[in-house]
Amino acid sequence: MTRRALRWLVAALAGLSSIAAHASDPTVDLFPRAATGYVVAINGKPRWARAPDSPRAPASLTKVLTALVLLEHDWQPHAQIVVSARASHATGARLGLRAGERAYAVELLEAMLVASANDACLALAEAAAGSAQAFVTRMNERAAALGMVASHFEDPCGFDQPRQVSTPNDLLRLTATALTVPAFAQAIAQARGEVHTLGGRKLSYTTSNLLLGRLDGARGVKTGHTSNAGRCLIGLATRGTTQVIVVLLDAPDRWWTAAVLIEEAFRAAQSG
């Protein structure tokens, strides 16, 4: 009696683990309506995905690569960055920097990552490489070195361009690398900040990431939105020793979607 019951239990467990294995197959799209392209990774391993290698406009998720390139190339946090006229006219999310104003690199970097400030982004890219275009060359070189084979960048801040594309898997790889840089990990977790221009102006900003402070374990990373890209997000959350990264490209309701996917991922991690 007991032996038969045990045999059944063992077989049932084997069956359950086969279901679990199926559910963990990265080709399985458990959430078809989450986004046009998405990937959910638990402790670095992709768990669920939809069109994970299909290129799409990444919008301001681009700034993760911008930050990585800045931090890896002779980064001087207290360098004084002069805001160009072009940078001061950047559209979309912005701090309101004026042409000719100077500010510290580290403060501009944080504003770029936390508030997605395009004026700060452009000022940093121009200062680092001489021009936005020269900086983009560095970005593409770094992307290639990272193995982001389906990605190409034409704008350092994520403005739509015909060949400005990336994929959920490429952005996942990029994020995992960027998180190993302490200055990046520290910046993306902030909910608010200030840029103090050397002329004495104080420009305050708050994070564009609504998960921060609202979802247990949320650590931020990057938001993005353009007409081509739709609403995008790279979300990071950690609970205990489990880390979840969600990349969403064109997710109509990215906050609810990200929250649901992150909760599901932690639940899946807990149940093995």
Binding site: A11, A12, G15, H225, S227, W255, V260
Partner: protein, 354 residues
């Protein structure tokens, strides 16, 4: 002083020992220790050929026992129809073994210290004759064997009870976990039918139904997974009708946990998978409490978990052709500045209305 203490020591030790012994061990019964010699012979055996003889056996028998002091082959033989007439005993016996055997025996006491007797055993059609000679060689505790038998019986009863309890626990576990497989006859568990009744009654409750509703069918042929279809068949219940009945009540009473676990995505009309979210159980609450809520101004606390479940349910729906859209090509990264009210209306609208 020291000498008197030494004199008292054996008595004290005896007292201490008797206190330490279990009560059963202290009740000795007067018994006689017999040494029994048996000489066997078998019918049809060629002349000059002898059966192997057993060495003398020592048998302890209580003085008031109604059984003769004859060996019982290490407990494998049972004596019955034992009769005593004066100094003489007669009995019948049956012995387990392969093959089993039956037989009769008799003996007569020659005074208090010896006896003579004979037994006849039939084994597979052969007859074995055994001459017995017994000699009393001392005294013994005649209750020992009784206690041993009682202890063995007690152990067997305890083991039997343990097995019964374990089976009951497994059967109850099958009900608690709503897994009918263990209640099926083929598992060999042989649960009382009341457990099936309990499980099927539990299925009719929100608690039981919601435990089963999220289960996916097992992917292994012939393997029970305890999913709704399997339990419905096991109980002979129409689970679609049951879902409609339970979910209607949950909708009316706003039992959010049950609605979230068992009703979202199923139509109020006939309990089938809902193609239109508006027809789904819970859609009224979703429209009232979840739709249009932004992540930064979330639903009221008591509806948050329910609204999250609704969002999850929606994310898992297949994508329809009109859900995909193409970009229009403007060039501002990051979301345009919108007032909170406009954004509140837009956000989540797609989730619940597309």
């Amino acid at each position: 002083m020291i000498r008197s203490s030494i004199r008292l020591l054996p008595g004290a030790l005896a007292l201490a020992l008797s206190a330490a012994l279990p009560a059963a061990a202290q009740t000795r019964e007067p018994g006689d220790l017999w040494e029994v010699t048996s000489e066997m012979s078998m019918s049809g055996m060629p002349a000059g050929m002898n059966m192997p003889q057993r060495p003398p056996q020592r048998i302890c028998r209580a003085r008031n026992s109604d059984k003769p002091p004859v060996g019982d082959n290490d407990g494998r033989c049972e004596m019955y129809d034992t009769k005593r007439t004066g100094n003489a005993f007669s009995w019948k016996m049956r012995c387990e073994g392969n093959p089993p055997s039956t037989g009769t025996g008799e003996m007569t006491y020659e005074g208090r210290d010896s006896y003579k007797g004979a037994m006849t055993l039939n084994v597979s059609g052969q007859t074995m004759a055994i001459k017995l000679v017994g000699k009393r060689v001392g005294e013994c505790d005649g209750g020992e064997s009784k206690r041993q038998v009682a202890a063995v019986q007690q152990q067997a009863a305890a083991a039997q009870q343990q097995a019964t309890d374990a089976r009951a626990m497994q059967c109850k576990g099958a009900v608690d976990s709503m897994m009918p497989y263990l209640l099926r006859a083929e598992t060999g568990l042989q649960c009382d039918p009341k457990y099936k009744t309990d499980l099927c009654r539990k299925l009719q409750t929100p608690e039981g139904f919601s435990a089963v509703a999220p289960r996916a069918p097992s992917q292994m042929a012939g393997m029970g997974s305890g999913d709704l279809k399997e339990i419905g068949e096991f109980c002979g219940a129409n689970v679609t009708d049951l879902r409609v009945r339970l979910c209607k009540r949950a909708d009316e009473q706003e039992t959010l946990d049950f609605l979230a676990s068992s009703c979202l995505g199923y139509t109020r009309i006939d309990g089938s998978a809902s193609a239109k979210p508006a027809d789904s159980f819970g859609s009224v609450i979703i429209a009232r409490e979840c739709a249009g809520r932004t992540f930064s101004s979330p639903p009221a606390q008591q509806y948050r978990s329910f609204c999250s479940a609704a969002a999850r349910q929606n994310l898992m729906q297949p994508v329809t052709a009109d859900a995909s859209k193409a970009g229009t090509g403007t060039t501002k990264p990051e979301e345009p500045k919108e007032d909170a009210a406009t954004r509140g209306k837009k956000l989540l609208k797609d989730i619940f209305n597309r």
